[in-house]
């Protein structure tokens, strides 16, 4: 019996992974994700937790064919550089064909299985982004 994914870590990162919890620096006003103990822009430790918007814009993307072990079932992996307000997030894009992706397109956060530890270990859920659903403007 062995486990590849840390159980306590899975538990610790729920905020950023489930709810896009980020940190806002009270000194320089900038927001970073995932939250760090000090601001990566100005070094201040005066931070507060904020939640990023769940909708944003795809600034860039890559269609990854050289996939890491354990991800062949979803190859090619679509990797996005997503702008959420003033913050950029790197995360997988889901529910899209490579040919559908365009820089500048609107995307929205969804909760997906990011990793699962083989057959019996822990499942790590977290945010991915998908092309904004038509009718999704109804969402807030």
């Amino acid at each position: 019996m062995s486990m590849d994914l840390s159980v306590p870590e899975t538990w610790r990162v729920k905020g950023p992974l489930y709810r896009l919890e980020a940190a806002r620096c009270k000194t320089c006003g900038r927001i970073h994700y995932p939250p760090m103990p000090a601001c990566p822009y100005c070094g201040s430790r005066d931070l507060e937790r904020v939640t990023l918007p769940s909708e944003g814009v795809l600034e860039s993307y890559s269609v990854v064919y050289a996939v890491p072990e354990g991800s062949r079932h979803k190859a090619p992996v679509l990797l996005g550089l997503v702008r959420l307000g003033r913050v950029r997030v790197v995360a997988e894009i889901t529910d899209a064909d490579p040919s559908e992706l365009r820089t500048g397109m609107e995307v929205e956060a969804v909760l997906r299985r990011i990793r699962s530890d083989r057959e019996a270990g822990i499942i790590r859920y977290g945010v991915m982004f998908r092309p904004k659903l038509k009718g999704g403007s109804r969402g807030g």
Binding site: H73, R112, R113, M128, G135, G139
Partner: protein, 354 residues
């Protein structure tokens, strides 16, 4: 207000989720050598298939998020989360807590997963009505979500599909629809089961019909009508559990309800049987189009076996909430057709070394 406990409660938000991928019936028939007419005999066109990064939790989460948006309440006011499924990602470890945590409902809440084949979510709904009516909780969330399994090559494979639905139940005041009454009818009837550690269910084929589906739904509905003093013609819509496209129309005919009142909530022909979502997803489709004052009959069913019947009346509040989240039809239009090989890969039917 004295009276039935149901009358003190209502639906504050509803939300659905249907995955993007669709498997046409012709693909299943092609691969497994079924007669071409097999699927049309079940009233089926195609079924929704969860993607490789989806499961009943991720689908249930999205339906619940949509319901919460429509309810327009603080997540922390939800005092109970019931998750009905027969495709839990963890056999032991609640799925309800994952959804509750991701939505910000935790920690001051009840949360548990319920199992009663396709009817667990409906039992959760009825439990919430009681809990809200008693004042134990202010609001409750019930989620029905399944990535339904079927033994590849079994006739069940035509219908077993993926989807989710969720409701926020709360006080009658401010509800988009309020309950008038509810009735449950259960017996020990072994029409369909999945033994522990087995990946796929088995079923009694024709035995799933008369002694199971029809007997239980008919008695639940008749029980409800008797208690409320209503007759079938009092309802504007009727939604039944929909294991295929034919059974709901047949039970409606038997109860004297015209087809036109059933079709708006009959979603299985285009997305398949979403098990715990099934009838409740049909109800969501009806709420997407219903007008204030409409009375809806809903009767979910679960193998093993049991049925619940509810009478629901739509209120004026529905119009302003409808637009707060995507409709069933928005998800239906988001459609990517796949072949059987892709379906097999997505649903883990292929044997691979991990």
């Amino acid at each position: 207000m004295e009276g039935r406990p149901e009358e003190k409660t209502g639906i504050h938000g509803w939300g659905v989720y249907v995955p993007r991928y669709r498997l046409p019936m012709s693909e299943i028939a092609r691969v497994w050598g079924w007669a071409p007419e097999q699927a049309s005999g079940l009233g089926m066109k195609e079924k929704a298939v969860a993607g490789p990064d989806e499961d009943s939790v991720t689908m249930g989460y999205e339906a619940a998020r949509n319901a919460l948006r429509r309810a327009s309440i603080e997540a922390s006011r939800v005092g109970a989360v019931f998750f009905g499924t027969e495709s839990k990602p963890y056999a032991v470890k609640p799925s309800a807590t994952i959804i509750a945590e991701a939505l910000g409902i935790t920690p001051a809440t009840m949360a548990s997963d319920l199992e009663f084949a396709c009817r667990a979510a409906s039992e959760g709904l009825r439990a919430l009505i009681g809990m809200v009516a008693s004042g134990l909780i202010e609001y409750g969330l019930v989620v029905g979500s399944d990535t339904a399994q079927a033994n590849p090559g079994d006739v069940l494979e035509f219908t077993a599909s993926s989807g989710a639905v969720a409701y926020i139940i709360g006080p009658r005041e401010g509800a988009v629809a309020h309950f008038e009454g509810s009735y449950t009818y259960v017996t020990d009837t072994p029409d369909f089961w999945r033994r522990a550690h087995q990946p796929y269910p088995l079923h009694g084929e024709g035995f799933t019909g008369e002694p199971a589906y029809f007997h239980h739904i008919e008695n639940a509905v008749k029980g409800l009508l008797a208690e409320l003093g209503l007759k079938p013609s009092d309802f504007d819509y009727a939604v039944f559990h929909q294991p295929n496209g034919k059974f709901p129309l047949r039970i409606a005919r038997r109860l004297g309800i015209p087809k036109e009142k059933v079709l708006p909530g009959l979603v299985t022909p285009v997305i398949g049987n979403t098990y715990n979502a099934s009838a409740l997803l049909g109800l969501a489709r009806v709420l997407d189009i219903a007008k204030p004052g409409d009375r809806i009959l809903v009767a979910p069913f679960g193998s093993g076996a049991g049925s619940d019947a509810y009478s629901i009346v739509v209120t004026d509040a529905i119009e302003e909430r409808r637009g707060l989240a995507p409709l069933f039809d928005d998800y239906l239009e988001r459609r990517k057709e796949i072949d059987y090989a892709t379906y097999a890969k997505f649903r883990g039917i292929l044997n691979v070394i991990k």
